[in-house]
Symmetry: C2
Subunit: 250 residues, 2 copies
Amino acid sequence: MADLRRPAIILHTPQLGENIGAAARVMLNFGLADLRLVAPRDGWPSASAEAMSAGALGQGVQVSVFDTLEAAMAGLTYTIATTARPRGMEKPVFDAPGAVAAVRGGAGLAGILFGGEKSGLPNEAVALCDAVLTYPVSPAFASLNLAQAVGVFCHQWGAAAGLGGRFEGKEEGVGAPAPREDLIGMFEHFEAELDRAGYFYPPEKTPVIINNLRNALIRANWTTQEVRTFRGAIKALALGRGKARVKREE
Amino acid sequence: MADLRRPAIILHTPQLGENIGAAARVMLNFGLADLRLVAPRDGWPSASAEAMSAGALGQGVQVSVFDTLEAAMAGLTYTIATTARPRGMEKPVFDAPGAVAAVRGGAGLAGILFGGEKSGLPNEAVALCDAVLTYPVSPAFASLNLAQAVGVFCHQWGAAAGLGGRFEGKEEGVGAPAPREDLIGMFEHFEAELDRAGYFYPPEKTPVIINNLRNALIRANWTTQEVRTFRGAIKALALGRGKARVKREE
């Protein structure tokens, strides 16, 4: 079922079709579909946007184009301006998780507003918004690509919405964690074969060496299948060594 | 001081210089600087990468190029493979905050590995990594642009590192929150003028109307300056009305 709180993404005077297309792609990656363009410089539709969208513009993202920001905000009840520069306006300033929480917690339909490539959002656009979203950018290199700025919000949306893709393709039953007794059995098998091979020398250091080995191996979070595989490997080494010895003795 | 835990970003057989440049840009946006390329299809350096990096390739991101992933991992102690498809390997699977926490909590130098545009990471590459990073993408449209994938991690890194840009440009002292008594004074001023204007009718509804007004206005989180401005506005309206009346009476 569609999440009715899914916000609109509004691009304010975007310049490059490539960025519009990349924004559409990352919106759909994370489940957003309402893209509003305010006075795109090169008009609409755009072949470069189409190409960069990797199909998102045909597969689910709905684009609407407006002459003014005011028109683009029709139907929205809450808008957040994405800007690195809160201009002394006393609005709530959110980070990405905070903005998503505000959208999800609110009633009605929200919009997230992003400024164009060249100069970002004008003061008048920010003044029309309820809150500000800023990113923790490096002060020395603070200018984010437009589509990246959209992508950061969209990822946060997807994370909060609990989209299913995270575990997509995860195969079931490939390996349950090994019960501790299987692991201990593997350790003992390994150590017994090492002992037979004369590995523990000098004898008084044996406990320390065993602990070192166990500490290293246990970190691997073995599955039942992997324990079985490793025991097979131990056996092969032990038998192979025996065979070699037999051969050498012949 | 540089954060010594800053991870390397490794791009495995990237194809488009544009994506390499965009990755470099977003790395530097969020304070990362070690970019390692494994067998970039179109060689290196790349004019398109240079252009898309918006200066990041000249301003701080160090690029190194390797023939193999193994060589690119030299010096790293912990690597995380970014992939939508954990292939039944029993590795820790992180979301973006989890991956950043693992990097920051670990000793030594970490790397975050991203697959090329066409086919992502091969199994052999994932097998060389300690853990997997996946994003909560929409199952129906799961293929993220390479630079966007890098950007999501980098943003998370910047958020955890507490980069200063979030409040960059925030002007100090523009407006402290108004003390409650100032706000109440403003309400009373407003209501007194409304009363003089005959606004409260019928009289028995006055308390309800006042509460409605106060509930609406109080949500604005007024600053001292804004209270002053609004009282000025009330005064102007009241005086102006008086003048109009005087004029009409003349």
